[in-house]
């Protein structure tokens, strides 16, 4: 008898295969020089956004809660790793050693904050959780934008006012320069590393969804009270998901910060969190592969269609509204189901969810 492959496993391997093919194709293009410099500059950002989208999808699609603090976690990852890389760039000159450490530091710092903020906040649900994560992201952005840190022979100096307020000695060096952020970060993010991390992210995400933990998290999403009544520790599983999301967002932040010479906290604003949400919604809530594809397509689209660049943000807004109405309104969804048999698979996933909700 032929052994049946678990559909989840098949799905994940199709995604890995797709990613591998795209990766090889891009590598060939890079080596033969058949790639525009514009697209080349987008390769790392595409991976960063794809990782962000996959990580947010764990919270939105698997846990069923909305987090608008994605940019905040990214900011923590970016800042902590950029400080580390700046400190050691003269002592550890090999990026192969330096960068993996930076990635782990960035991810862990973000995860730590994710758990610290998660413990009080995850008692909340729905709109409250969303607004608190948004508030948290804004706090992170504002604090980093007002932070001045430098060091000299006398030790570390921290101020919330200005550079002059630090009172650095003659040998002092600035680490974080308020709204100007961090500069001089070594350019360690290459496409190969970014793609490898995206690959690892996908493996983590698929295995998470397909694990006992992942199933417990989904049971909380589908019916919190029933899940609680069969003994699932809601806070624990929520915290695990939230921490994992923060960790991956932090890693994306590391890639992001090591792709630019200078880094400002103002980059990690509310719009960044919304952008990631647009990727998740367009790719399909709960679909990991969809998130990656949506992130790649939407990041490249404005570059290829310069004329629509002006309407890019407006388009994102319309995507959010139309996607939600089409997948959540029963009349419209049934219309699609009747008329587009092919789309059925895509839509039914959401249907089973809302039907239960309606009961």
């Amino acid at each position: 008898m032929k052994k049946k492959i678990n559909p989840m496993t098949r799905k994940s391997f199709v995604t890995y295969g797709m990613l591998l093919i795209v990766f090889i194709a891009v590598e060939i293009m890079l080596n033969t020089g058949n790639i525009s410099s514009m697209l080349q500059g987008l390769l790392v950002p595409i991976c960063v956004y794809a990782i962000l989208a996959v990580s947010l999808n764990l919270t939105v699609g698997i846990l069923g809660e909305l987090s608008l603090g994605q940019a905040g976690f990214m900011c923590i990852g970016a800042y902590s790793s950029a400080i580390f890389s700046n400190l050691v760039k003269d002592s550890i000159t090999q990026p192969f050693i330096r960068f993996p450490i930076a990635i782990i530091i960035g991810g862990l710092c973000a995860a730590l904050f994710g758990i610290i903020i998660g413990i009080p906040v995850l008692r909340l649900r729905g709109d409250y959780l969303a607004i608190v994560t948004l508030a948290f992201g804004e706090i992170i952005k504002n604090v980093f934008a007002a932070l001045y840190i430098g060091y000299d022979s006398a030790g570390l100096h921290i101020s919330l006012k200005s550079q002059g307020d630090l009172g650095l000695g003659a040998d002092g060096k600035m680490m974080i320069n308020g709204a100007l952020g961090i500069s001089g970060t070594p350019n360690d993010s290459t496409f190969e590393i970014a793609a490898a991390i995206l690959f690892i992210t996908l493996i983590i995400a698929y295995n998470f969804v397909n694990s006992r933990t992942g199933r417990a998290v989904m049971s909380i999403r589908d019916n919190r009270i029933a899940a609680e009544s069969v003994g699932i520790n809601i806070t624990k599983y929520k915290l695990i998901t939230f921490g994992l999301t923060a960790f991956l967002a932090g890693v994306a932040g590391v890639l992001y910060s090591h792709n630019f010479y200078s880094l400002q906290a103002s980059k990690f604003d509310y719009n960044m969190s919304i952008l990631v949400l647009v990727f998740v919604v367009l790719g399909g809530i709960g679909s990991i592969r969809g998130s990656v594809i949506a992130a790649a397509v939407l990041t490249m689209l404005p570059e290829f269609l310069r004329s629509v660049n002006k309407y890019r943000m407006l388009m994102y807004a319309v995507v959010l509204i139309v996607m939600m109405i089409c997948t959540s309104n029963e009349t419209i969804r049934n219309f699609f189901v009747r008329n587009f048999e092919k789309l059925k698979g895509l839509i039914i996933k959401n249907k089973s969810k809302t039907v239960k909700e309606a009961e």
């Binding site: 939105v60 069923g64 809660e65 909305l66 608008l68 009080p120 906040v121 008692r123 909340l124 729905g126 709109d127 409250y128 969303a130 607004i131 608190v132 948004l134 508030a135 948290f136 804004e138 706090i139 504002n142 604090v143 934008a145 007002a146 919330l160 006012k161 009270i225 509310y270 919304i274 949400l277 919604v281 809530i285 002006k310 309407y311 943000m313 407006l314 994102y316 807004a317 319309v318 995507v319 959010l320 509204i321 939600m324 109405i325 997948t327 959540s328 309104n329 029963e330 009349t331 419209i332 969810k353 809302t354 909700e357 309606a358």
Partner: protein, 293 residues
Amino acid sequence: MAFLENLINGISLGSIYAVIALGYTLVYGIAKMLNFAHGDVIMVGGYVVFNAIVKANLNPWLSVLLAVVACTVLGITIEKVAYKPLRKATSLSVLITAIGVSYFLQNMALLVFGEKPVTFTSVISIPKISLFDGKVVIKGETTAAIIASVIIVVGLSLFVNHTQKGRAMLAVSEDKDAAQLMGINVNSTISLTFAIGSGLAAIAGVLLCSSYPILSNTTGAMPGIKAFVAAVLGGIGSIPGAMIGGIAIGIIEILGRAYISPQLADAIVFAVLILVLMIKPTGILGKKVNEKV
């Protein structure tokens, strides 16, 4: 004296937050959704008044009236187009849609009204009040904001508690299905709520832009979110709560800006939100709602 002046400025800003928070609290109480786009309706109101005065040379009172009408229509349209199809959907879908609407308004305003921020000329003609031999000056805008918010809160409380439409709103907020069985038209009640909230947003927009005259497409976003914080602090669904929460947030923000750090004022307000939700999630005047299985 500087402290007194900061305190008065805080109350003034807080009064504006209170008017915005009323819109959140009404919609949250009745439609059970966080209308993310509420802050952006404020911005639209501001732009309508600005264009009516500068481009069409209308009288300030008439422009304010025009803005109230425009925002009311906008609020009803948003509800009908974006939120009504999702009445039975999960709260996650509704929330994402609301974020979409907010983003849509911001970027539409960018295209329609231009990228460059404009300077709003105050429409308020109340004279300054000088206290303590001119050591403390209360601007006309401050007086106007405080008076307007008090009138609105009292008026709205009377409306909700003593008119048929208002009591219908209370009934819908209590139990949508039961209200429908009692012959209340739930859809028109929800539309009315959005209309009132958006009309108030227009007034809040005028007050906000008169005090803080830089108007751009994101003018409404931050005050909107802070007003939501105010609504949560005061107890969501409660009209006097919105007033108390609004003024508290306004004072916290202005004092934080003056005595702690100008850059961290927003962060302090948000920290208050997190604290409130940790300690007393129902807010100061909110009711505790038990969850039914």
